[in-house]
Symmetry: C3
Amino acid sequence: MGFQLENVISIKDFTKEDIEFILKEAEKMEPIARSQKTSKILSSKILGMMFYEPSTRTRLSFEAAMKRLGGSVIGFSEAAESSAAKGETLADAARVVACYADAIVIRHNAEGAARYISDIIDIPVINAGDGAGQHPTQTLLDLYTMKRIFNGIEGLKVALIGDLKYGRTVHSLAYALAMFNVDMIFVSPKELKMPRDIIHDLKEQSISVHETTRIAEVIDDVDVLYVTRIQKERFPDPEEYSKIKGAYRIDGKMLNGKDVIVMHPLPRVDEISVDVDTMPQCKYFQQAFYGVPVRMALLKALIK
Amino acid sequence: MGFQLENVISIKDFTKEDIEFILKEAEKMEPIARSQKTSKILSSKILGMMFYEPSTRTRLSFEAAMKRLGGSVIGFSEAAESSAAKGETLADAARVVACYADAIVIRHNAEGAARYISDIIDIPVINAGDGAGQHPTQTLLDLYTMKRIFNGIEGLKVALIGDLKYGRTVHSLAYALAMFNVDMIFVSPKELKMPRDIIHDLKEQSISVHETTRIAEVIDDVDVLYVTRIQKERFPDPEEYSKIKGAYRIDGKMLNGKDVIVMHPLPRVDEISVDVDTMPQCKYFQQAFYGVPVRMALLKALIK
Amino acid sequence: MGFQLENVISIKDFTKEDIEFILKEAEKMEPIARSQKTSKILSSKILGMMFYEPSTRTRLSFEAAMKRLGGSVIGFSEAAESSAAKGETLADAARVVACYADAIVIRHNAEGAARYISDIIDIPVINAGDGAGQHPTQTLLDLYTMKRIFNGIEGLKVALIGDLKYGRTVHSLAYALAMFNVDMIFVSPKELKMPRDIIHDLKEQSISVHETTRIAEVIDDVDVLYVTRIQKERFPDPEEYSKIKGAYRIDGKMLNGKDVIVMHPLPRVDEISVDVDTMPQCKYFQQAFYGVPVRMALLKALIK
């Protein structure tokens, strides 16, 4: 069957088959991503990077993915470098970059930006984060990490931890995990609970969903602790933030002897103690690496 | 004969034969620019980009041109990234980049900057805009656009519209069109008329030149409307600007049924209404694409 | 024997054999650096550039070195582009770039930064300047320049001139020259003399070391004038600075007929008069070029 999508805008556009196709392709890409094998399949192809917001990790892993496949990259890494300063619209900028490139990766602060330009231009568009909206390639690499570590996603128990209200990463991931019948436990302060409509959608799909405010309650029952950052700005009262911050911090003592892995989309600030970094439970750097083979698989599937 | 220039500084350095050579070569480059064919003729060559002013379009199209030919790019995209901040002179910076690269593309706010460094260093220099000075590769892609659309430039009727006083693009283009016996009509507010010395030069070459303040007068007679932006800063009185702005704005209604094409060097702000974008008269995005094969032809001709 | 180092952090980590190996390899790289020969030995390899401080020269010459060998480059060229702004630690940033690249070049304002990340990550790290600390690739290209011009370093007489107190370049260079039994003369204002501990170390190695405040005293006796910049900020009294500045400025009159070469790590401000640029004594631009073959040799030696 292969991959049917022409753009990668939202994880909701993916069928389970689309996702499985990419995860399978990513596995073949791993030796190339590790520079143990070489590939020239995208030689002479150009990826256009339109990054209106800086994002080292996502930008560099797309660039690495393109270059590992023999391709080239052009673009800009912040709005100031773009022609937006001269009053050019996003639509015009995208049309022009589309003249120079074979696919576009866009990161923009406005929700819907990626979809908007994909409707205007003829080459594939990949959404690398659109404000409060989607970040589908993050979700795919999260899934790939679970698949590689557990040899499959089906039937896992995953705790999503931290800011579940505003975090676009956990929203997309929850929808994707639902396709694989993953049991989900949402662990957050009461101010930052998973939105009701998402809970509702998941239950409609007969997904087992639990909510709690305490990590200790779930740590013995789950396979994955997926940790996200709680931002100070979400709390009007700084004292309230300080109290909560501590309660959602993962450290080595908490993990010792536990049969669980820790994932994080990074950058991490202090929600995971550095003493976790050297423990076998730490998988967030491996997860970062997996961004490369997953993005290689997407680039190969999209660029003709 | 081939191409005799060692640098591309001003369109006035080009003979008609030089221009025709590049336009012909650009045509051969098109399938590579569209990624339908691959080329490695500049493999292992390096293009040094010295962009003291940001310019997405010009910078990215040069980068795409170099990479489509198998070459690499190094450089900086704004003055802050350069060593100018450390007090280094332009001459020293150019000498150093010339140690690392096989050709240099420079954009600088000071008129004459490109010529200046081309006198100092041994590798080819391409001017990508020097303040109020020249932008010869823009002129070449403008000519190429007309050639591709009309199958030749000779004998066309072209209206240059907007700010004809300060616009370096239209000055260079007027001189180049004169070589091809193009009839020119200059359409501008009286405050922004084509400079008298240019009119004089053109008439000396027996070029048919007309001037008017109204687009409506010319739209039925010309093949090309070449539109440029009128900047607010040119008018001491904001009210005067508002009045004039509207009069030099191209929209769909005005163009409907007309046998004319619309070109623009981009970025466009609001001097062309977006309803033109989907009309057959709209050629400004195609024009942007043509920047790639034209610059490929130049890079191939200059880099030994 | 070959090259034994896994990272390039400080010139003090190098044995004389390590240095000689790199200088010999660099010579083989020259035709490739000049684009007279092509190489693909680092094809499909990726160099990660972590530049927390801008540095056109060092950054571009590493990029050129990598690209001349067929490799690719990813990274950032200023701290603002990095994820440091989001609160990510240097350690985490390095771990992530290490997921995407085959070696890392880092420039950081904090002394010890390069060593610190080399202890954390598994891929080779090259120090491209860490604050007041080390800049070993500059030292290697300085040595290479002397070797190429004099056909050997052993027994040369070298004057190090300017700010010898704070200049990391001259500190590293002095240690390296000591390995080659080079006679050194330190020429500086008394406020900016070579630190006593370095003088002590050199004398322990039986190196001939002299100090003076006057260039005129040494110019007839040495093979090399290695000039560095004296920064205004080092002097509390601006008048004192002005007086001193003039005394350490090299000009054409001073050099006329002298059998000596002038080197400078660049960027130069006004410590070397531009009338020197066209004299046979001027070697600082050639020196800049030599940064490419030397860095190519290092990249080849480090990246497996």
